[in-house]
């Protein structure tokens, strides 16, 4: 948008809306990183911090929604302004769910710390990094109206799904080899599932960015490689 609104406060509000979404996204990215780090290091203190910080994300969602609603009242936004306002209203709860998944990873870490460590799992931190980058990139795309970048995130999710599928098998195998690891492995399964879900949400955000910029919803089916839902591993 190169031209400014005649009424400056309208521009101020649109900018504030973008800023709030970026801040909320930034917090969510930090939470993902902190949660995975705490998991790897079996750090209960950091895990507890992650759980408590989630309320900051929830507070931002409320602020974004209130601002967007007031903008609808005051400005009756149209065209790109309308799409931007609607996009913020759709994205805020999506980021809030990302925050919830990160918080849940924190909870699982506390549970996992009560069992002996499972074999070192490199996949989970890799998945975590990937999901975090997807969130960062898609929110950059939102701030910059960058459809191409959003689309790239949308497509990367298939890779994350693949990693989840192979981790799923791996954990089933561990559980069958050693039943004492079942509790820990089950928690790790949920952790992996949470990360995979974060990736899914990033693609939802990408779809909203597409709508914001193009004015039309992305009509294709997302490339989804979710084989884990139908995976069966037989005991030997």
């Amino acid at each position: 948008m190169t031209t400014d609104h005649i009424v400056k406060s309208f521009d101020d509000e649109l900018n504030k809306l973008s800023d709030l979404v970026s801040r909320m996204g930034g917090l969510a990215e930090e939470q993902i990183e902190r949660a995975i780090d705490a998991l790897q290091k079996r750090d209960g203190v950091a895990a507890t911090e992650t759980i408590e910080n989630d309320r900051k994300i929830d507070a931002l969602q409320l602020e974004i929604e209130e601002l967007a609603i007031q903008m609808i009242v005051r400005r009756q936004p149209l065209a790109a302004d309308l799409r931007h306002t609607v996009a913020a209203l759709k994205i805020a709860p999506l980021i809030e769910r990302i925050g919830d998944y990160a918080k849940n990873i924190g909870r699982r870490t506390l549970a996992l710390n009560q069992s002996p460590p499972v074999k070192p799992l490199f996949t989970i931190p890799r998945m975590g990094r990937m999901a975090r980058n997807m969130v960062q990139d898609v929110l950059d795309a939102f701030s910059n109206n960058d459809v191409e970048k959003a689309r790239a995130v949308w497509e990367r999710d298939a890779e994350l799904d693949d990693m989840y599928d192979s981790l799923f098998r791996e954990l089933l195998t561990y559980m069958m080899e050693d039943p004492r690891s079942i509790t820990a492995c089950t928690h790790l399964l949920f952790v992996a599932r949470n990360i995979e879900r974060i990736g899914d949400i990033a693609t939802n955000i990408a779809e909203v960015v597409h709508y914001q910029v193009e004015g039309q919803t992305l009509s294709e089916d997302r490339p989804k490689a979710d084989e884990a839902s139908v995976t069966v591993v037989e005991p030997q």
């Binding site: 948008m1 031209t3 609104h5 005649i6 149209l78 065209a79 790109a80 309308l82």
Partner: protein, 280 residues
């Protein structure tokens, strides 16, 4: 209802799109008013440049644009009100039901019964409510006697949503009504002569929100039987009442399309800038 001025052309009226004959299929709307390359000059100054637009039948088309963009000038071309302005010259064609209304043998008085107009400031005649409605039909020879006239006055006022409020005081002056009532009286007056098209130039600008809402409701009902063109300064009103919107700027028709699309995802930057309040 046949119009003497146009009846000889009934057999060359452009046919409805074949899909339009099936009740269940989503029909492409027939075009009621077809304007091609319309140029309008006030003396040497060009006010409109190559305006081409199809106004669909039984729908509401909204003209929006900043002050001075030519939308009201174009509206007035459709019932040749611009003829009353000496220095105004119109070129190009404007056809209603396939007949060019600027043809030399068009009866302009009849045209203005066909194509009614409602103005920004309600302008009832200085006559009784009854005579405001009856005047047009009487001079056009549309009513046979008092009983006919009574029926027509009643049905027009009912269709304009005003009957209940005035039925017990039809002999009182039209100018004694409130602004909103006067505007509905003017709409009833326009309807009474059985128009096919109703032109409205900012019909709600002088009215309060409740009166405005009642007019908008009326417009929604009227479009079932009439083709309506409305000039409005309110983006939200255009979005609410119209199915097609045309954006004018500096005498040019910049963009036209389905109302939903114009207000959520316009194609032209000038349209976007205007409707989002980025320039006046």
């Amino acid at each position: 209802m046949t119009d003497p001025a146009m009846s000889e052309e009934q057999n060359v009226t452009p046919a409805l799109d074949p899909q339009g004959t099936t009740a269940s299929a989503p029909a492409k709307r027939a075009t009621k008013v077809d304007a091609r390359d319309v140029d309008v000059f006030y003396g040497d100054k060009q006010a409109l440049d190559k305006v081409t637009i199809e106004i669909p039948e039984n729908q509401v088309t909204a003209f929006i644009g900043p002050s001075g963009c030519g939308k009201s000038t174009f509206l007035r071309c459709i019932n040749r009100m611009n003829d009353t302005i000496d220095i105004c010259r119109v070129e190009g064609t404007i056809a209603i039901d396939g007949r060019d209304i600027y043809d030399h043998d068009i009866d302009v008085v009849q045209l203005r019964a066909q194509v009614g107009m409602v103005f920004q400031k309600p302008n009832p005649f200085p006559k009784s409510i009854y005579d405001n409605i009856a005047y047009g039909p009487r001079i056009h020879g549309m009513v046979a006697g008092k009983s006919d006239t009574d029926d027509l006055v009643e049905s027009s006022l009912k269709r304009a949503g005003l009957w209940d409020e005035v039925k017990d005081r039809l002999e009182q002056p039209g100018t004694g009504l409130s602004g909103g009532q006067q505007q509905r009286l003017c709409i009833a007056r326009a309807i009474a002569v059985s128009p096919e098209v109703i032109l409205m130039d900012e019909p709600c600008s002088a009215l309060d929100p409740i009166a405005t809402a009642r007019i908008e409701e009326l417009i929604d009902e009227l479009r079932q039987n009439f083709t309506i063109v409305i000039v409005t300064h309110s983006m939200q009103q255009a979005a609410r009442v119209s199915q097609k919107t045309a954006f004018f700027h500096l005498g040019i028709l910049v963009e036209q399309g389905a109302t939903e699309q114009i207000f959520t995802n316009p194609e032209d930057k000038r349209t976007q800038d205007y409707i989002t309040g980025r320039f006046g």
